[in-house]
């Protein structure tokens, strides 16, 4: 049985786009890639395990993706980043969108007891991510691309955890806060160009990353809902998006809660 060119690929916001997905096995990235595939996009999937990338690629092809390439590499590994990144974008050409979606939640308790674990959480979630973003920004701002007037987007998956350091996950939160500042600086730098930077801050998402938590409350969202929020943010060129939207007022309250009150909570 062979995978065929689909009979129908509805034109949509992803039609004809080329998307580089860094961390393609993440649940949010997978949901986003499916939405893009349904609109006929071409995708480059980057992740650690070839067999899993192959399975995701086959799924995206069946759902209408124009072309799918895979690159098996550990994004947390920062050695030889420049040639590796060049290899990724050589697969299907310079992307219209780069989605930086990988990350590791880790265990706060383990990080508190271990310098090694603290470093790992910061390296995966911030240091390596910043480096790929820098390379992506460089690729998207090549002079001939800047002149073609075509809109391009760097999408960064942040987290509400980055909005204020909290005792329950400040290592992960600090890494995401760093990423937030990095993306903001990048957006500042690219202001007025055809490259936009979108930071998406999901709250609680029902993914394998959170499978050990009780997910029955009303604050939990599905990866498909986050993917929809990313799509809308890209279409509108929004700088920072909370997903779902209600996290914006919640995090505003968390950010501005007075310390005497805040420190009494278990947040």
């Amino acid at each position: 049985m062979s995978s065929q060119i689909p009979a129908a690929a509805a034109p949509g916001p992803g039609a004809g786009k080329t998307v580089l997905v860094l961390g393609a096995t993440s649940a949010i990235a997978n949901a986003y890639a499916r939405q893009r595939a349904a609109a006929g996009a071409r995708l480059v999937l980057v992740g650690r395990q070839q067999a899993r990338l192959d399975a995701i690629a086959a799924d995206l092809r069946a759902r209408g993706a124009g072309d799918v390439a895979t690159v098996a590499t550990d994004l947390a590994d920062m050695a030889d980043a420049e040639p590796r990144f060049a290899g990724m974008i050589a697969r299907l050409g310079t992307p219209d969108e780069v989605l930086l979606a990988y990350g590791v939640l880790g265990e706060q308790a383990a990080a508190q007891d271990s310098a090694e674990e603290t470093r790992r959480l910061i390296d995966v979630n911030f240091t390596s991510a910043a480096l790929w973003l820098q390379l992506a920004a460089k690729a998207l701002t090549e002079p001939q691309l800047m002149a073609d007037g075509r809109s391009r987007t760097l999408v960064v998956i942040g987290s509400v955890a980055g909005d204020r350091g909290r005792q329950s996950n400040y290592v992960y939160g600090a890494a995401k806060a760093g990423l937030d500042a990095f993306a903001e600086g990048l957006a500042h730098r690219l202001h007025g160009t055809n490259v936009k930077v979108v930071t998406v801050k999901p709250g609680f998402v029902d993914t394998p990353m959170t499978a050990h938590l009780d997910r029955s409350g009303p604050l939990w969202a599905k990866p498909e809902a986050i993917a929809g929020a990313i799509d809308r943010a890209v279409a509108k060129g929004q700088r920072i998006v909370y997903a779902p939207w209600f996290w914006r007022p919640i995090m505003t309250a968390v950010r501005f809660a007075p310390r005497p009150l805040f420190y009494k909570t278990k947040l």
């Binding site: 995978s3 689909p6 009979a7 399975a55 086959a58 069946a62 938590l213």
Partner: protein
Amino acid sequence: MTDPFGTATTSWGRVSHARSRVAEPAHLDELAHAFRAGDVHALAHGMGRSYGDVCLNGGGHLLRTARLDRIIAADWSTGVVRAEAGLTVGGLLSVCVPRGWFVPVTPGTKFVTLGGAVANDVHGKNHHGMGTVGCHVRALGLMRGDGETLEIGPGSRPHLFAATVGGLGLTGLIAWVEIQLQPVSSSDFEAQTLRLPDLDGFFRTAEDSHDWPYTVAWVDCLAAGRRLGRGLFNRGRHASGGPLVPHGEKARLKVPRDAPSALLGPLTVRLFNAAYSRQPAGGAAARVPYGKFLYPLDGITDWNKLYGGRGFFQHQSVVPMAAAPRALQKLLELTSAEGQGSFLVVLKLFGPRASPGILSFPREGATFALDLPNRGPGTLRLLDRMAEVVLAAGGRLYPAKDATMTAEQFRAGFPRWREVESYRDPAISSDFWRRVTGDTA
């Protein structure tokens, strides 16, 4: 944090509960790993839409398949799709409908996984023409406790395939399903509703509806005497020509919490009466989206909570055609006298197309389905009396809907159950299987 050895799980009827160690593999290699890692018996669990305990495994390992929802290969020129077992019927429809393909068979909800559909060999309103979903399965990937993944099908290890279709997930983990879709030229249905004055009217109309691929009747189970079997007959077919639009993803309503169950009876009575009296005797065919025709309840998230915190049972049975008029009348008399039902009985005639499954529930005859709010011992007595009527007529109860049948009732309805037991993977078991086979594993 949840206790890794005791996550409480329930099923759609919310009367069966079990504590199990739960895993949610997101990739097939993780499924294999989780299966091997278990030192206790395992069971695959899809959307939890079966009503009783076929999807539960107390004290064991529950492997949720919902994240295994990838299409492995799709040939849109022939309509053959191979997908991981956790892909839902709804998830498949949203991809295949725009390309002019439809699932060959669907139950009354699209929130079931393909693996669950095969394990329960589900049927739908088109059983009289298309049989069960198992009739359209070309191949299955079956992950066995000994570490092998077998590719089985009607022509490849046919006995193991026959034990697996409708085999309640016991012969191994269904890792993927390859299915033949049916072509459609529209996502709409032509649908028609007819009034049924009585039970005879149901049989007559069903006989007259052979050229309608989809049929089902809703019958008032409180009406007695001359009006026994009063109801509405729905029939439909795929419209020809028109849009190819998948269902919307958003539910229209959500039941936020348990409703007082006393509300439900009078409410459905009023709704039905309104629908019945509004319905012209011979309604004209209307064009409706498939979601409206096939999945009327999917628009109400968590409708099972309408039955209140004690949950509900469903009786679904099938009896051979020759015994059907008498048996259905007896069942309706029982429920009418008790006044316990949720008011609406679903009736349908099953056709002669045989499923490959050994434990498959449908057979040629008439099927009868009724929800019963859990009101304690009285409800259990009624369920038992209904089961006895069915068995006396040579029929059987549907394991996917059942929470109460005895081992004797199961063995009487499924005399070939030992064949499936002989193919059961020793690393797999379920609450249902232990209940009806008396195995305490």
